[in-house]
Symmetry: C2
Subunit: 148 residues, 2 copies
């Protein structure tokens, strides 16, 4: 399903250091947000993260600000997978040059799957290159769970 989970498991000090290296203060709310996303096997919504953080008393506005800050700092990636909701996922610090991997969004249940080895045919790549530089591929459809 996902081959990136667990590759980013980091200790608390490592997470704090990553945040400091990115030029931000390692506050509890930020550290927790980044940890949640590094431990998740798929992108989480704004609301998902805010709800987790609210359990430890973090305000929704703070959660939103931190997600945006961490994104601007290059620690997270923010994407919109077609259901009008922002999702965030941690960027693997061990493979900075890794290009964005494709995602699959189930339009029925909203679940998201990260895909590693999906690419276009050479011919398709040529066609799309004539339009512009493709940086992201998104597939949508019905996941196996939702196909009864």
């Amino acid at each position: 399903m996902n081959d990136r989970a667990n590759t980013m498991l980091s200790t608390f000090p490592e997470i704090q250091q990553a945040i400091r290296d990115a030029g931000l203060r390692a506050t509890p709310a930020r550290t927790a947000a980044l940890r949640i996303l590094r431990e998740s096997s798929s992108p989480l919504t704004h609301a998902d993260v805010a709800q987790s953080l609210s359990k430890m008393g973090v305000d929704k506005a703070t959660a939103f600000r931190n997600l945006n800050d961490l994104t601007d700092a290059g620690l997270l990636r923010r994407t919109e997978l077609g259901d009008h909701v922002w999702r965030f996922e941690a960027i693997d610090p061990d493979s900075q040059d890794e290009t964005n991997h494709p995602h699959f969004l189930c339009v029925d249940c909203g679940s998201v799957t990260c895909l590693a080895d999906v690419q276009l045919t050479a011919n398709s790549r040529r066609k799309s290159d004539s339009v512009g530089e493709v940086t992201e591929i998104l597939l949508r459809g019905h996941c196996n769970q939702c196909r009864e």
Copy 2:
């Protein structure tokens, strides 16, 4: 750029009939909305259509309702291309069985291009099929105009 524009050019009576056939009343606002989208070479946003219609005195709420009604009736397709905005495009009545074609969204300028002949490699298709049934492909990146 786009090979679907102009293939759907319809006369006013044809558009009205299409709306009636779909089980809706052919009001001026609906007829105009469908005509605008059938004449457009790329998907238009909620706001685009609402603005066009407002010039003829149609309320924004009516425009939104009609876009949703026409979508539910199967005359339009509603997609979210990653910039948090709904877009609508007319479904070609002459090729009902045509699967959704891929889109390219420029993340810089927001322009959308319809792509006809883009597909995944056989291997990629196999991988994505193991996750679910893919019904839509979306590419994002920087269009040629925006690459300086």
